[in-house]
Symmetry: C2
Subunit: 297 residues, 2 copies
DNA sequence: CCATTAACATAAGTAGTACTTATCCCATGC
DNA sequence: GCATGGGATAAGTACTACTTATGTTAATGG
């Protein structure tokens, strides 16, 4: 008997993959160098262990059920990954593709603009960026390295601080002139404040904390615009709709090019920041090391 | 004997994973409900079939070799994926996480800004965006859906046009005033033209084609700035450094908010565009369908 | 310095699984 | 209504892989 959470014999999945791809038990048997009854029996066993039909038996052939389709997709990608890595190990060649997991803001404002530079240095390495809304879902990430915002110290992972959180208000040059610079904090409420929606911003600094750190009291006023997304907030700031919070160095390029103006008087820092997070159990490949060296430089 | 490209018995990998995780054959045997020699033999067989040592035998235990580390990473993620999907199928529950593969520009300018809206509609679905520099590497993508730029008609895939390529020059409002609008094409060479580096732009329209389609001759001049990355080019356009090419609707938000001004006289369209690409063999899940319906609306 | 211990390796017998061969069954098409 | 081509079933067999028993190794302690 099979235990609930245990895997069935994985050979069954190899047989299933061939049969599902070819939509024929006979053809699958031929490809696998075995016989049709062997395939038939293994598929039957797999279906029994799952309690779900994977194929519908039709006249002269089979078609996949919904469950079969779902299983095929994952089976193919997993088997392909395994085949690939086993091949690589046989040839003793290092992996050339690295996957980086991070959040939308870091990907869009920091990583993507800089990646071509890395590509210039290491043409042979292909970087895949993976972003997810459920940002810190560490256990399910099958990445070489993650770059996550937080306090650091992730259980079961090595983490290293890449950037400390450093926040300053930013606005368009036009708005900056209009108010002839903002010299005291209370000036700022004259302009609309651009704010990230609470469940998006997660651990990021918000206006309330910034005011508090400067010894001022934040009072929610009408002149606040909420955004679901940092990209949209930055766009609004650029177009002069209000004052946003800028993370250094995410927005450095925008400030350098004059699209945004920083109000450095009101800069605040915290113990949070972006961390390079890697699994304890994995030794980084040479490609990963090259990427991290470049990132830290 | 084992054929070159074939997989070894996958049970070996399950045993390997346990042994590598626990760094003990005895403990792995205990976890798997078997005996230490069984583990020892399977590891030996796996190492023999790969021709590489996976463990280094040290006093009272084992440690992973480099090859062992590499194999562990992929093995863990693949086995986790398989366990997950088999569990899901047993419970007859639909997948709730979908992975979208696309290019940097589409991700940064179109998808990411709009995703919070989708999240509002479907809180239970977690969207993962995966971008890669080797954009159209279709066979190796294990995604639910890809959104790729090109002509459509990918071998072995269903594709459906999402957006037609529609390009117009864009610049900052300031530059636009400065030249009191650009009314004829040749006006445009007065300002610096922002250009994507050839090996990045791939199939995208470039200035040469745009001039050609308007019956004008493009002559490379000094007033051209090259960029490795569309994000950087757009930043330069926003900050008034020159005229860039804007893809509709990627930059619509910027134009709507007044950060950029479009020069619609010179709009050109092509048969290229962004296509929704899905594998022929996979039936989209309900989550995927919901995402695609939202995307097309 | 030798005995003990705790890890993995090896060897050989055994048990159980899974493959093969042969046959059956069913739906279609001529 | 018979031939065809696909999968299902059944039973014997062969082979794989597990178990038990023993060997090997290296560090520790008396």
């Amino acid at each position: 008997m099979l235990m609930g959470s245990e895997l069935p014999p994985l050979q069954w999945l190899v047989v299933f993959e061939a049969a599902a791809r070819l939509l024929s038990f006979t053809a699958a048997a031929h490809e696998l160098g075995t016989t049709q009854p062997a395939v038939s029996q293994q598929i039957r066993a797999l279906e029994k262990s799952l309690g779900v039909a994977l194929f519908e038996r039709i006249y002269r052939g089979v078609v996949l059920t919904d469950a079969g389709h779902i299983l095929l997709k994952t089976t193919q990608s997993s088997l392909r990954d395994l085949r690939e890595v086993l091949q690589k190990i046989k040839q003793k060649s290092a992996p050339r593709r690295i996957t980086v997991v991070t959040d939308f803001a870091f990907a869009a404002f920091y990583l993507m603009p800089r990646l071509p530079e890395f590509r210039g240095l290491h043409k042979e390495i292909d970087i895949r960026i993976q972003t997810s809304q459920s940002g810190t879902d560490l256990p399910s990430m099958d990445s070489d390295v993650a770059i996550l915002f937080g306090e650091g110290g992730y259980q079961g992972y090595r983490s290293e601080k890449l950037l400390s959180e450093k926040v300053y208000p930013v606005c368009s040059p036009k708005l900056f002139e209009e108010f002839s610079g903002f010299t005291v904090l209370t000036d700022m409420v004259k302009a609309p404040l651009l704010k990230l929606n609470a469940d998006i911003s997660q651990k990021w600094m918000d206006w309330e904390q910034l005011f508090h750190l400067h010894g001022a009291q934040w009072q929610p006023s009408d002149s606040v615009m909420e955004f679901d997304n940092y990209t949209l907030l930055v766009q609004a700031a650029i177009s002069g709709q209000g004052i946003g919070l800028g993370w250094s160095p995410l927005l450095d390029d925008y400030i350098k090019s004059g699209v945004l103006v920083a109000l450095p008087h009101f800069t605040v820092e915290s113990n949070n920041g972006y961390h390079i997070v890697q699994s304890n159990h994995h030794v980084p490949s040479d490609s990963t090391k090259a990427f991290l060296d470049w990132l830290k430089a």
